[in-house]
């Protein structure tokens, strides 16, 4: 009775996205460099935020649009994340919800 363990990529692969060419997430790099906790690296359920050398890289196309990053960044980080909803029709498309 073992359930196959799904990797995060497997999971994100189950979802449907309409990918915009432009990112709906912007990062203020100076905030992130000064941010000690960097909660976004942990809390994002799609691991949209990845630490790359000296800044936060964004994989916005995986965003589930849950809003967790903004809450974590406002209260636990330095407020470097500017998250806006993707423009109409783009982004995640839940088929079950």
């Amino acid at each position: 009775m073992t359930q196959k363990l799904l990797s995060l990529d497997d999971r994100l692969g189950l979802d449907k996205y309409e990918i915009d060419e432009q990112s709906h997430i912007k990062i203020d790099d100076t905030c992130c460099v000064n941010c000690e906790l960097k909660p976004c690296l942990t809390v994002c359920p799609a691991e949209v935020y990845v630490w790359a050398e000296d800044k936060v890289a964004i994989r916005y196309e995986n965003c589930l649009e849950c809003g967790t990053c903004t809450v974590a960044c406002e209260g636990g980080g330095e407020g470097g994340i500017d998250w806006r909803p993707p423009q109409g029709g783009f982004g995640i498309v839940f088929r079950y919800g």
Partner: protein
């Protein structure tokens, strides 16, 4: 004739179509012919006999230039009407897709698109066709005679038979086309597109720096391959203007080696049509390993140079 007629403006594709047509024709005891359309007929056109054609039908006309769909449709339809084959295989190039459909409309025939296999049974053609970009396969019975089918490159294999073909000129009525070609520009041969490369090295975020790119380039060079990348490598690091994936390009190389690619489905869509996939990643749990034929858990920066050397020493030729 009854039998199989083969046409493409790409000579290699003609040979591939002949390979399969010959095999089926031999099983059924029927004939195979190739069609050549052009301004003039080259001297070596009979060489299709080497690849399985019993006959080569030719149409020569000054109007057969620039792949003008109207004149090529007239010519191919003319040959078919004269020869009366059971099945016409047309190479699925853009021009082939266009004129096969026009010919079929004119003759009231059916076209099986992107055929990957077919059979001739009891007087009709059955064709397996790829649907939904390769997710599925439909089998169709084609109810018309002739039946047409379009076939992509590298679906069938050319087989040298060493036969001799009879060359027969066909007098097809070709009308002056309404469509005029004002300017004709050959595409530059340089700068092979990723889509056409036989081998791809697909670089992901696991590669540390742009200075490491020669690692990938050396590997690609062994196979006349191209170095491509995932979206973040393109859009965030700006190493390449394009990327592979759902939102980018899709390749169908014989061999794709991914370096530091984690394997999101959005990216894998871009490479999944590759015949063989090798993945190199430090993370044993990376999703890419379930999408690859061969996985290597190692740091690409250390592994790939050694791998490249071993390939050089043992073999670096795609089968």
């Amino acid at each position: 004739m009854a039998g199989i007629l083969v046409y493409s403006e790409k000579q290699q594709l003609v040979r591939e179509l002949l390979g399969k047509a010959r095999q089926i024709a031999d099983e059924k005891g029927t004939a195979v012919a190739a069609v050549y359309l052009g301004e003039s007929i080259p001297a070596d056109v009979a060489e299709f006999g080497d690849w399985g054609a019993d006959t080569v039908y030719t149409v020569a006309s000054p109007l057969l230039v620039g792949l003008n769909p109207e004149t090529y449709t007239d010519a191919l339809a003319g040959v078919i009407e004269q020869v009366e084959p059971d099945l016409v295989l047309v190479g699925a190039t853009k021009s082939g897709l266009e004129i096969s459909a026009r010919v079929a409309a004119r003759l009231g025939a059916g076209v099986a698109s992107f055929c990957v296999d077919f059979s001739l049974d009891h007087g009709f053609v059955t064709a397996d066709c790829m649907i939904y970009s390769g997710v599925g396969k439909n089998t169709y019975k084609i109810k018309t005679q002739p039946a047409l089918a379009t076939v992509n490159a590298a679906v069938f294999t050319a087989v040298e038979t060493g036969g001799v073909a009879k060359v027969t000129a066909v007098d097809a009525a070709i009308k002056e086309p309404a469509l005029k070609i004002i300017e004709y520009k050959e595409k530059a041969a340089a700068g092979v597109k990723w889509e056409d490369a036989p081998m791809i090295v697909d670089v992901g975020q696991g590669m540390n720096s742009q200075d490491d790119l020669p690692i990938a380039e050396s590997l690609a060079a062994l196979f006349d391959g191209q170095v491509a990348c995932s979206r973040p490598v393109s859009s965030e690091r700006d190493w390449f203007p394009e990327w592979l994936g759902l939102s980018g390009k899709r390749v169908h190389a014989d061999l794709t080696v991914t370096l530091g690619i984690s394997g999101s489905v959005q990216h894998v869509v871009g490479i999944r049509d590759s015949k063989t996939i090798i993945a190199v990643n430090t993370d044993e749990n990376a999703g890419i390993f379930s999408q690859a034929d061969y996985g290597v858990v190692a740091d690409l920066h250390e592994f790939v140079p050694i791998f490249t050397d071993v390939l050089k020493a043992k073999s670096a030729k795609l089968a």
